[in-house]
Symmetry: C2
Subunit: 382 residues, 2 copies
């Protein structure tokens, strides 16, 4: 199939591109290096330098003899995105092209504005481009479990059957996110749901939990094909950060009580979930929503796991409770459904000691690249 | 009180400014004439020319000896809005400053993009400006009943007590709007709700139904103080359009079955609802939501009312069913709550024959200004 991956240089975009290319799909990637630029500006670059997208593609071609086509440009610019869609005529559009950091979106007004404008204008342009150039194409959009927040009821997959005063309807599960970034994902859902109903678009919206890990089938053993691994507060997801902190001998920073529970998944499962969604497309006129994670943990549980496995590897891992810089519940009910992707055949890669060991060993090799002052900056929500 | 009215040149903004000025509040109005520019570009100007905002203020001063302070500029530009807030230090911010037309938002990609960017960036800037310059200020934001769409359950005022699998929570009433314009209002709600929780803002969000009418206490008898009266499909609300069509001998255009039910209100009630919200502010950290309308009608009922009252005035009013250019249910359940503003003391001005006669007589006086080709353009949703 002709697959267009928007944000194809990113932490998840690049592994997805390799995975689908390895399956002999005709893969095109688009990126404007926004994530790299923001990491550079905020002085929080990844653990190891990643080759640029054209180099990555050349290396992939060298190793596997497979071609990926790149476009470098800004998808919020209509003249650019229209040209990309016109030339590629995609059958599937995988949309990762957003500013992905919650703390970044809370840094200051300029960062908030960039997040709001980039994320919404890219999503809007994707909708208009699909409508104009490939109205049958399947849009696979990365949302976030964070859209739901932490309500006191079970979280269903996107929708809720509501009975109220003797009548009933199936409506979007009410959303209330914990950061501006997560709120832009809610707004994306609003936008997609409107145009799905109005224009009959075909959309899968993946409510993804925090991702951890670095290796996928296609990159294992090929350092230069690995995605970014950020260990900082802005662009490093929590478990990845803890791994680097454990290696660096920097106490694991647990915010507040540490009872915050989220649904996590391995980066290999992200790639597999996206592939399964692609192989089992939504119908025209359908907004299909899956909750994309494999298991839930509290922050305390993650810290304990890293501490235990770290100890086995001879690391002296300390855990430090700090005042929570975010506004969030530190103890709450959390029971989200997640059967949709399992029903499509997902075989989860759980967070085993072996998985933790592999990550710790990899980061250990690059220990000298960890700069302690880049780990924590205490970005406050208020 | 020091009151800042954003969009103070608009159909609702200007009458609100006069009303609050008449009550001796210290009123500042801000506008960039976006609505006037779009009306001009789309060749759908109002029934009578309105003086510009500085002239309106001069005329108001002449008649009543009261001062209103104007700013002309674009609120999506931070350097402008920051200066306005810094200089005025408002205690209340009334936010009307959005592109307000559903059909305009569906015209084409450029109009959609303008709607999305204008509406969201102004709302975001208002939030950031309140946070920076007047964190205690009460934001009164105009939303729309259209945010809820037409679900098969009773619509509550903003929130819904949900019982699900033996647990319960009070969450935002699920939203699903019928146009991009209405969808931007949902996104405004998402944004406000996030920052209310995070920064403790004080917000009243008014889910307003379609407004009709032209006269308010302050403008009655003073033609030059009247707000815009648009009779076109883009900027004319349905009843105002029907009034002009009746006068022009142009058949009332009912879309499809005409069973579409909405909650309507008189422009005088808009002004009164905003004043009541202001006199009874929300608490800090509260997103208070009211459904702002006084009675519900189907489109068929509105057409019949205009036909009957028109006949009494000697007009031969015809009703014409046309293929619905929109995507909407033409027959549906609709039972929205609206007690919040009544509890604050709202005395509704219902849609009486007398109210219709007054509107018809006014438009009759300006009959020569009605250009039939401007009434209907059949803006299609798909």
């Amino acid at each position: 199939m002709r697959i267009l991956i928007l944000g194809g240089d990113g932490y998840l975009g690049w592994p997805t591109a390799m995975h689908l290319s390895a399956l002999n799909h005709e893969v095109t990637v688009v990126d404007n290096y926004l994530r790299r630029r923001l990491s550079f500006e905020e002085n929080v670059e990844a653990l190891t330098p990643a080759p640029n997208l054209l180099e990555r593609i050349r290396l992939w071609q060298e190793k596997r003899g497979l071609t990926i086509k790149p476009y470098i440009g800004d998808l919020s610019d209509w003249s650019f995105i229209a040209n990309v869609f016109d030339e590629t005529e995609p059958e599937v559009v995988i949309h990762y092209a957003e500013q992905p950091s919650a703390p970044y979106s809370m840094l200051n007004r300029a960062a908030a504005s960039l997040t709001l404008n980039n994320n919404l204008n890219v999503t809007a342009n994707v909708i208009y481009a699909v409508r104009e150039f490939c109205p049958q194409a399947h849009i696979i959009k990365l949302g976030t479990m964070g859209e739901y927040g932490t309500p006191n009821i079970d979280i269903e997959e996107g929708w809720l059957d509501i009975k109220h005063k003797g009548r009933s309807d199936k409506l979007l599960f009410p959303r209330q996110a914990g950061s501006l970034y997560h709120t832009t994902k809610i707004m994306d859902t609003d936008l997609l749901w409107f145009y799905v109903r109005t224009w009959g678009l075909r959309v899968t919206d993946l409510m993804q939990g925090p991702v951890y890990g670095i290796f996928t089938e296609e990159s294992r053993g090929h350092e230069e094909l690995l995605p970014f691994f950020n260990y900082d507060e802005l662009f490093g997801t929590v478990l990845n950060r803890f791994i680097a902190q454990a290696v660096a001998g920097y106490p694991l920073t647990v915010y507040g009580g540490g009872g915050q529970t989220r649904g996590y998944l391995n980066i290999q499962d992200t790639v597999n979930c996206v592939r399964l969604s692609l192989e089992n497309p939504a119908n025209l006129g359908e907004l299909r929503i899956f909750n994309q994670f494999t298991e839930t943990f509290t922050v305390n549980e993650l810290a304990e796991k890293v501490k235990t496995v770290g100890k086995n590897l001879g690391l002296n891992v300390k855990v430090k409770r700090i005042k929570n810089p975010r506004k969030e519940k530190e103890s709450h009910y959390y029971n989200p459904a997640h059967t949709g992707l399992l029903d499509l055949g997902l075989q989860p890669n759980y967070l085993t000691d072996k998985a933790l060991e592999e990550m710790l060993s990899h980061v250990e090799k690059h220990k000298n690249n960890i700069h302690e002052h880049k780990i924590f900056r205490n970005t406050k929500w208020d």
